[in-house]
Point group: C2
C-alpha cells in the first residue's frame, strides 16, 4: 500500500487512455498507439452545428465584436463603464444591427430568430452590452412593438431602433418582482382631460432595478394597474416620458441610481417613482386592452387572467435570449479552462521536468468534461427554442398552443442554462487556480455578470414552478373529474416500481445484463434508448406522484390545500427540472442523429452519453429508490462516466475549438499559449543546464555518492 | 387536479407547521397553537457557544470593526481600495491587535488561538483587510517567526508587527502553485562573499499572486531552491529586501502589478522576479536548515522530504484561519438572507394584501436551512481545529503526531468550509432576488472576495487528495506488507454489504423499522447513533475500497501504477470529503451534548440531525448501492429533512441572531428592516383606501355586479 501512496503521476501525453476498462491501465506508448486510430471530429462542421439555424447572424455579430471598442475592460470604474457601453450601443446602431426584429417599415428586418441570435453573441464582448441592448430593444422596444399598435409604432419605433429614444422597461417594483400582477403603480384614467395619471402610491411601488433608468432613459414603458370609472382592469403598459433632452427628470418623475451591482456595471440600473404624472390617453399601449375617451374599457380578451398572461407572454424573448447567452458564456469558460488544462502542467511524472498536463488527471476530466457535454446539449436545445420563438413571432406558427409551448419551453430551459453557466464558470475558474481569479482571464467577470441571469427575467425557481404546474395540468387533463378510477389505475401502474422496488427492473432490460460485469454489457444497457427511458420515465413518474399527492387538495379547505401544496413545492420544482433536462437530452440526441460524418457522430455520441449518464448519476438515488436501476447497474453509471471522460479527453480541445471563438472573443492570456511558452522556456533552461554540466545534484544523489544511507520522508505529506 | 394547480398560498405566519407528518397539513390557527408550546433557544448562550474558546478575542475584534473606517466600500476603485485597506492595517496596529501570536519580547502576546480568532472576524469588515492582515502577519511575519531563529526575530519581528516593515510571502510562482517543491527560484550560496544569490532563471519562476508585492512590500520571505557546493538541498526560505524607502524596486528586483482580480481588490497582489540579487548568508531563515560560512549545509532533519514538509507545516495557520473566516462569511450571508426571507413577502395568500413571507415557502426553507445547519457545524469543527492549532503552536501539545493531525485536519476542513461558503453565499444571493445582486446588500461582494479561498493556501482538491492519502496510509498501516491474508479478510468483511446488497441492513437496525411507515419509526432509525454509523461507515468503506483497488499497484510498472492511481483520483478526493464531513458532524454532536438548557439542546439537536441527514441525502445513492440503506429508508431521509426544515423554520431568526452580529457588521439594507417598513406602508395605504371607500373594485366584482358571467383564466400561466 505504501508504495501506492508514493506513486508518481504518469508521463504526460495529450492522448490519455481511451476506451479501456478501468482495471487495465495503459502505458503512454499503448495509449499513443490506440489513439492514432481514434476518430476525430470535423471541427468546422461541429461549429456549424453549434451555431445552429441562425449561424450567419451569429457570425456577423462575432465579426463586429472583434473590434476592441466592444470589449469589456476589467475593473473599469462604473461611470466610465456605463459611458463605454452606451457608446457601444451607438456603434451597434451604426452597424445596422439594431432593431432587426422590428417590422421593415420601421427600419427592421422582421427577423426575430436572427435578431436574438446576434444579441446573444454580445455576451462575448461584454455582458453589460448584451443586457443593455436587451433593455433598449428587447424590452423597451418590444413592449412598444408587441403591446402597442400602429400609432405607437409610427411614433416611436424608429427612434427606439436608432437609440435616439433610449428607454427603460418599468415592470418590476421594489415590492414586487416575481408577482407582477400585484404591482402597486396605478394608471388612473381622467376623462376630463383624456389623460392617464401615473402614480406611485407608496415606496414599495417604486419601479426598481431598471436598466437605462439611472442615466440614459428618456422614456419608460411603465406597467401599472389600469383604473377607469372606479374599476381596476389589472396590469397594462403605458409609454411615459421620464427625462427631458438635458437628462433632467420631468416634473413628477423621480429617478434614483441603484449604484454598484455584483456585475453588469456597464448598465445604469435605477429606480423610478411617479407623483401623479399625466400622460395622454393614447400612451396606453393598447393592443390587448383599451380605454375610450369616455373612460370605457374594452379588450378582445375578456378574461383578466388570460389577458395578463397574453401581455406577459408577448415579452418572452428575454428568457429565450438568456438561455442562449448563458450557454455561450459557459462555452467561453469551457474554452478557457480546457485550453489552459491542456497546456498547464503540475506535479512531475517522475522524469524530472516532465510534469503532467492538468487535463490528464482523472479528477480534472471529471470537473470539466461532463459540463462541456451539458453545454453542447444547451446549444442544441437553445436552437430548438429559438426556432419555436421565431415561428411564433414571425407569425408562421402563431397559435395559442404554440405560444403556450414556447413560454413553457423558455421557462424550463432558461433556469437550467443560467444555473449551469454559473456552475460551469465557477468550476472553470477554480480549475485555473489563482490565474482563474485574475480579471484578465475573464472567468470571474463572466460569473459576476451572469450571476443575475438566475433571478432576472423570471426567478429560476419561480419559472420552474410554472413549468411544474403546466406539467401537472397536462397530467390532470388526461383524466376528467369523473374518471377517478382511471386515474387510480394509472397511478398504481406508475408507482408499482416504487412500492415494490425491484419489480420495475425487467422492463428496462436489465435482467439480462445485470449479472455480467464487463464494460460492454454496461454500455449495452445504458445506451441512448435506456437513457431516454430513464430520463423520460423520471418526469412521468414525478408528475404522477405529485398529482396523486396533491389530489386530496380538492377536499381540503383553501388554507389546508395551500399547505399541502407548499409541502410539495420542492418536488414540483424538481419535476420541472427533470423535464428541462429531458428536453436538453432529446435535443442533443436529435442533433447527433443528423450528423453525417461518422467520426464526428461517434465523438458527439460519446458526449451525449456522457451528458445523459451525468444526469442519471445526479439523480441516481431516485432511480435506485424507485427500482428503476439495480444497485449494480447504478454503480456502473459512475464507472461508465469515468470511461467516457477518458474517451473524450483526447477530443476536448477539438470540442472547445468547435465553439468557433476567435482570439478577440477569448482574450484570456491563460488561454493564449503564454503558459505553453513559459513551460517550454523552463524546460529549455533545465536542459541547457544539464547539457553544460552545470545542474546541481540532489541531496539524495550526493549521499548516494557518499554511500550514506538516506532516511526518506514518510509519505504523509507528499502531495501527489 | 385543476383546483390544486390554482390553489393559493397559505396565510402568512412566522411559525409554520412544525413536527406534524407531511400528510397532515395544518391551518394557521393549528400551527399557532402548537408553536406556542415550542422550545426556544437561549440566543445569548448559543452566541457564546458559536464564538467558542476565544470568544473574548472575537468580541474585541468585532467591537473594533464597528468603526466604519474598517468597512468595505462597494465599488471603490482598486487604487483607493488598496490605500484604504493599508490604512486599516495601520489602525489595526494602533489598536494593539497586531502580532498577538508573536512572542512577548517582540510586543506580542504569544496567544496563537486568540490571534487567529480575531483575524477571522475581520472578514465582516472587509475580506481584503482580513487577507492583507493575513499576508503581513500570518504569512510574511509567521515565516520569519516560524522558519527563522532569534537573530531574525530580534531584527525584524517588531517592525513586522508595527507595519514599519510590510512584506510579501513569496512562495507561489507562475509555474508552480500546488507543487511548491518544484519551484524554480534559486538561492545559490557564494562562499567568496558569504552571500546567497537569489535568482529567477525563467519567466515561469517569477513569484506570483503575492499580496504586498505590487505596492506596499519592502521585503519578502522568498522560497527558493537552496544550492551550495553544487548540491541542491531543496526549498528553503530567505529574507529578501525588495524596495527602498521610497517604494522603488531595489537593484535586480522587478515587481509587477497583478491588476484587477475577481475580488479582494484592496490587496496589492503582484509578481516579483530576481536577477542575481545578493543577500547576506544570515538572511536564510535557518530554523530547519543552515549553511555555514564555508558553504557546508546542515539540518536537524536529515530527510529532505520530511524537512520540506516540516517547514510547510509551520505555516499551517493560513489554512486554519480560512476555515474560520469562510464560516463567518457564510454566517453573515445566512443572517442577511434569513432576515430578509422573514420580512419579504411575495404572492398573496388569497386575502388581498396579505402575502406570504418567503421563509414560509417549503422550497425556500430547503434552500436556506440545511446550509444554516452546515454553517453551525463548521463553527464547532473550526473551534476544535483552532484548539488543536493553539495546542501545537503554544507548545502545550507540540508533538510530531499532533502536528501531523493538525495539518490533516486543516486540509480536510478548509476545503469544505470554503466551498460551503461559496455555495451558501450564492444561494443566499439568489434567495434575495434582484436585491441580492445589489452590492450594498453585500452578498455579491462576499462571493467575489471569498471565491479565491477555494484555491489559495492550498487548492481544495489538492488538499483533499492529501487527506485521502493520509487516510490510505493509515489504512495501510493496519496491515503489514506480509499480512496480505488479514487484509483480504478485512476487505471481504467490509465489502460484503456492497457485493450482496441488502445483507448489511440488519446491522443498522433497519429490519425492525423498515416495514413501518410512521414518522416515528423513521426518526428512531435515523437518530444520532445511526447518522454517525452511516457517516463513519462511509469513510471506512471508501478507504477500504480504495486500498483494495490500488493494491495491484505494487506489481505494476511505475507508469501503470500511476495510471491506476489516476483512475481513482476522484474517489480518493470523495473519501477525504466524507472524512471532513464526519469530523464536522462529530464536532456538532459534541457541541450539542454539552448544552445544558433543554430547549436550546432540543433545537440544536434538530439542526444537527438536519445537517447529518442532509449529508446522508447528498450521498444517498452511495448508501443504496452499498445496501446500507433500504430504498424505503432512503426515501424517508428526504421526508425527514423536509420535516426538520419545517420544525426549525420558527427558530430560523433566533438561529441567525445567535451569530451575534451587530448592525455595523451586517450593514445590508435588506436585512435592516427597511423591507418590513415598506410593506407596512403599503398595507396601510390599501387599508386607508378601503376605509375611505376609495379603493377601485375589480373587473370580476364589476361583472358580478353586472351579473355577467366571467370566463376566468386557465391556470397555465399563473405563477403560484
Amino acid at each position: 500500500m505504501v508504495d501506492v501512496v508514493r506513486t508518481k503521476k504518469p508521463s504526460t501525453h495529450r492522448h490519455t487512455p481511451a476506451g479501456g476498462a478501468p482495471t487495465a491501465p495503459r502505458t503512454v506508448e499503448e495509449a499513443r498507439r490506440t489513439d492514432a486510430a481514434e476518430p476525430r471530429i470535423d471541427v468546422a462542421a461541429v461549429t456549424d452545428l453549434l451555431l445552429g439555424t441562425w449561424a450567419d447572424a451569429r457570425r456577423a455579430a462575432r465579426e463586429m465584436i472583434k473590434d476592441e471598442a466592444f470589449w469589456q475592460i476589467p475593473g473599469q470604474p462604473m461611470a466610465e463603464h456605463r459611458a463605454r457601453v452606451y457608446g457601444q450601443l451607438r456603434r451597434f446602431v451604426e452597424s445596422g444591427a439594431s432593431g432587426r426584429a422590428f417590422p421593415k417599415e420601421y427600419g427592421g428586418h422582421n427577423d426575430n430568430g436572427a435578431n436574438l441570435a446576434s444579441f446573444e453573441e454580445l455576451v462575448l464582448a461584454d455582458p453589460s452590452m448584451q443586457i443593455k441592448a436587451g433593455v433598449q430593444w428587447g424590452l423597451f422596444g418590444s413592449a412598444i412593438q408587441q403591446l402597442g399598435t400602429k400609432p405607437h409604432h409610427d411614433k416611436w419605433l424608429d427612434a427606439v431602433r436608432t437609440l435616439e429614444l433610449p428607454g427603460a422597461f418599468a415592470m418590476t417594483e421594489i415590492g414586487h418582482g416575481s408577482d407582477v400582477a400585484a404591482i402597486g403603480t396605478t394608471a388612473t384614467y381622467d376623462p376630463a382631460t383624456s389623460e392617464f395619471v401615473i402614480h406611485t402610491p407608496f415606496r414599495a411601488a417604486t419601479k426598481e432595478f431598471l436598466g437605462n433608468a439611472a442615466l440614459h432613459g428618456r422614456a419608460a414603458t411603465v406597467f401599472a394597474q389600469l383604473i377607469t370609472g372606479g374599476v381596476t382592469y389589472g396590469v397594462h403598459c403605458f409609454f411615459v416620458p421620464i427625462r427631458d433632452e438635458n437628462g433632467r427628470d420631468l416634473p413628477g418623475v423621480t429617478t434614483e441610481d441603484d449604484g454598484v451591482k455584483g456585475g453588469l456595471n456597464g448598465i445604469d440600473n435605477g429606480r423610478i417613482a411617479f407623483a401623479n404624472v399625466r400622460i395622454p390617453r393614447e400612451n396606453l399601449l393598447n393592443r390587448y386592452g383599451d380605454v375610450a375617451a369616455d373612460g370605457t374599457y374594452s379588450s378582445d380578451i375578456p378574461s383578466p387572467g388570460r389577458r395578463f398572461f397574453t401581455m406577459l407572454g408577448a415579452l418572452v424573448q428575454g428568457r429565450v435570449s438568456l438561455d442562449g447567452a448563458a450557454t455561450t458564456g459557459a462555452a467561453l469558460a469551457e474554452y478557457i479552462a480546457v485550453t489552459y488544462a491542456n497546456q498547464r502542467r503540475q506535479f512531475d511524472s517522475g522524469t524530472g521536468t516532465d510534469e503532467v498536463v492538468l487535463l490528464d488527471y482523472g479528477k480534472h476530466q471529471r470537473r470539466l468534461l461532463p459540463r462541456l457535454a451539458q453545454t453542447y446539449a444547451q446549444f442544441f436545445s437553445h436552437d430548438q427554442l429559438l426556432r419555436r420563438f421565431d415561428g411564433v413571432f414571425s407569425g408562421a406558427k402563431d397559435t395559442p398552443d404554440e405560444r403556450e409551448d414556447l413560454e413553457t419551453l423558455a421557462a424550463a430551459l432558461k433556469p437550467l442554462a443560467t444555473w449551469n453557466a454559473l456552475d460551469t464558470i465557477q468550476e472553470c475558474r477554480e480549475a485555473c487556480g489563482g490565474a482563474g481569479f485574475m480579471a484578465e482571464n475573464r472567468l470571474v467577470g463572466l460569473h459576476h455578470d451572469l450571476d443575475v441571469y438566475a433571478t432576472f427575467e423570471g426567478d429560476n425557481n419561480v419559472l420552474l414552478q410554472l413549468v411544474g404546474k403546466r406539467l401537472l395540468s397536462d397530467f390532470a387533463a388526461r383524466f376528467t373529474r369523473k374518471d377517478a378510477a382511471a386515474l387510480a389505475r394509472y397511478a398504481v401502474g406508475q408507482t408499482a416500481g416504487r412500492i415494490f422496488h425491484g419489480a420495475g427492473l425487467r422492463q428496462l432490460g436489465q435482467a439480462v445484463a445485470d449479472f455480467g460485469s464487463t464494460a460492454r454489457s454496461v454500455e449495452l444497457g445504458l445506451r441512448a434508448e435506456q437513457q431516454h427511458e430513464l430520463l423520460a420515465g423520471r418526469v412521468e413518474q414525478m408528475v404522477t406522484d405529485l398529482g396523486i399527492a396533491l389530489r386530496p387538495a380538492s377536499t381540503l379547505s383553501p388554507a389546508e390545500a395551500a399547505a399541502l401544496f407548499n409541502e410539495h413545492q420542492s418536488e414540483l420544482i424538481e419535476a420541472a427540472r427533470a423535464h428541462g433536462e429531458l428536453l436538453q437530452w432529446e435535443a442533443f440526441a436529435e442533433a447527433v442523429a443528423g450528423i453525417e460524418d461518422a467520426d464526428t457522430r461517434q465523438v458527439l455520441t460519446w458526449q451525449r452519453d456522457l451528458f445523459g449518464l451525468w444526469l442519471i448519476e445526479k439523480h441516481l438515488a431516485w432511480y435506485l429508490i424507485g427500482g428503476r436501476l439495480s444497485a449494480q447497474r447504478a454503480a456502473s453509471v459512475t464507472r461508465y462516466i469515468d470511461r467516457l471522460c477518458a474517451r473524450l479527453r483526447p477530443h476536448a480541445q477539438d470540442l472547445v475549438d468547435a465553439f468557433g471563438f476567435a482570439p478577440e472573443h477569448v482574450r484570456a492570456p491563460i488561454a493564449s499559449g503564454a503558459e505553453q511558452q513559459r513551460q517550454d522556456e523552463a524546460r529549455a533552461h533545465y536542459a541547457a543546464l544539464e547539457a553544460a554540466g552545470a545542474a546541481p545534484i540532489s541531496e539524495k544523489a550526493l549521499r548516494k555518492r557518499q554511500k550514506e544511507p538516506v532516511r526518506d520522508a514518510a509519505p504523509r505529506g507528499r502531495i501527489v
